[in-house]
Symmetry: C2
Subunit: 261 residues, 2 copies
DNA sequence: GCTCGATGTGCGATTAACGCACGTATGGAG
DNA sequence: CTCCATACGTGCGTTAATCGCACATCGAGC
């Protein structure tokens, strides 16, 4: 049946492309066939088209993501004016706290890093970068995002089969729901040992773009926030950064033809 | 005529998506129609499909890139293990030099930032971020990339109509060609006032991934490299970082199922 | 009230996409 | 060396997805 509002081939091609974002590295066509469920001939055609369009590059008998995909991200970040507006703020906060600081939002049922900064004294890195994804239920970032998302999103997140990331990962929906509500009420979220053992995160809200909430978050070893005074310091710094980054959704809408083309 | 190796609809959809990476912000359908040259009904179907797939979000009467595109970039960066392997190195170099340092590669006929770091004392920022693009001919990054690219790429770059970014932008093909050859011969590239007035850049080669060269680059005010000793210092730091980042193409290929899904 | 541009829709013609089936190349095992 | 399993490339008939014109509606601006 033909549909005037949906291009099936495009959607399939994007599905194929998405196969490469989860399992990074080289993927062979049979692997993509397995993962996507499409016919072999279809996968072949889509992969070749993605290659021709520059999104995939051949490597041996498989394909790999091309830097082309960065250009799309660059468009999104340019839209936010990330390089000018958020990077300096994140860097300052990271330096002040001597902790990694990140700006994140929600993509489907995951939290996703939009930008991040780490202090010069980079003791430990979790290997996260722009575009890295985190679970919504078991991180401070994720819970703070859920606290600012529509109820159906929260329900959808809670409805998913619970995953234990650490030994103390909370899996009880009621407890998780209350953690989200607490985050909403107190205006920040803290999570310990929920995703990465020995790690803890703190997140505070920033503005939003459309109906997409943004949060600022920081990560440290689990006992970093034990002292209430230390937690206060972190919260203050994050909130200050949040103010400076400002209302993301409310930048000048008029200046379309900015920058050098 | 049907083609077993090409899905036209997918390619068109990607073209539509690409319309959003150049001119950031909200685009209305008529604008996309104009830019892409496709039929109005086609653009409509493709935009709606891109929205349904999560790559675009509606805003008012137009569309905007969704954070979904960051996930693709995240896949690419995870492939490089950017968060763990290159971020710390860039940060250290940026701190040591007190200058912005970036890892870049080539996407089509542009240089593109893969990752970057800025020192804590972020005096001036050019507003560049992951995915930002720069011209190949008029930047140190670009020329160093060309110096390591296949000859046909160089010719293609030189064949394009020359663009003047600054008053002293070089437009003579012969001079540009020799600048690229110089970069190849001496193993680094320096450019002053070529793209941004008052700015200068230095770039050195890093490994490559497949046939894609990578370079490390740094930017500063134009007189920062006047003193030969200062230039030496910068080159040493960049080369050191280049060594540490190492052969990007030669990381362990076996560890596919790494990380937590 | 009129005009112009944007948007949504109906529908017929076209042809692009699909996927089965066949032949080939590769590469590992015995 | 042979055999087998797997991946790859291709031909082609069928199907229906895509295309793009045409019409209708809506809202803003003059």
């Amino acid at each position: 049946m033909s549909d005037r509002t949906f291009a099936a081939t495009l959607a399939k091609g994007l599905d194929v492309l998405a196969c490469f974002e989860e399992r990074a590295g080289v993927q062979t066509m049979p692997e993509v066939v397995e993962r996507s469920g499409f016919d072999r001939a279809t996968v072949r055609r889509l992969c070749l088209t993605l290659e021709a369009s520059g999104y995939l590059v051949r490597e041996g008998r498989g394909f790999r993501l091309a830097p082309r995909v960065l250009a799309l991200a660059g468009g999104y970040l340019a839209d936010l004016d990330a390089g000018r507006r958020v990077q300096p703020v994140l860097r300052e906060a990271a330096e002040a706290l001597d902790m990694e600081v990140a700006l994140a939002t929600r993509d489907r049922m995951q939290a996703i890093y939009v930008d991040r900064a780490a202090p010069a004294s980079a003791r430990v890195t979790l290997g996260l970068s722009v575009g890295s994804t985190l679970p919504l239920l078991h991180t401070a970032v994720g819970r703070m995002l859920l606290a600012r998302s529509a109820p159906d999103i929260v329900e959808a997140a809670l409805a998913r089969p619970p995953v234990r990331h650490t030994e103390t990962s909370e899996t009880d929906p009621a407890t998780l729901r209350s953690a989200i509500e607490t985050a909403r009420d107190q205006g920040y979220c803290i999570a310990r040992n929920a995703f990465e053992p020995g790690a803890a995160g703190v997140a505070v809200p920033v503005g939003s773009l459309g109906d997409r909430p943004f949060v600022l978050a920081t990560t440290a070893t689990v006992n970093r926030f034990d002292d209430p005074k230390a937690l206060d310091e972190v919260l203050n710094a994050l909130r200050h950064a949040s103010m400076v980054v400002g209302r993301i959704g409310q930048r000048a809408e008029g200046d379309t033809a900015s920058g050098r083309g």
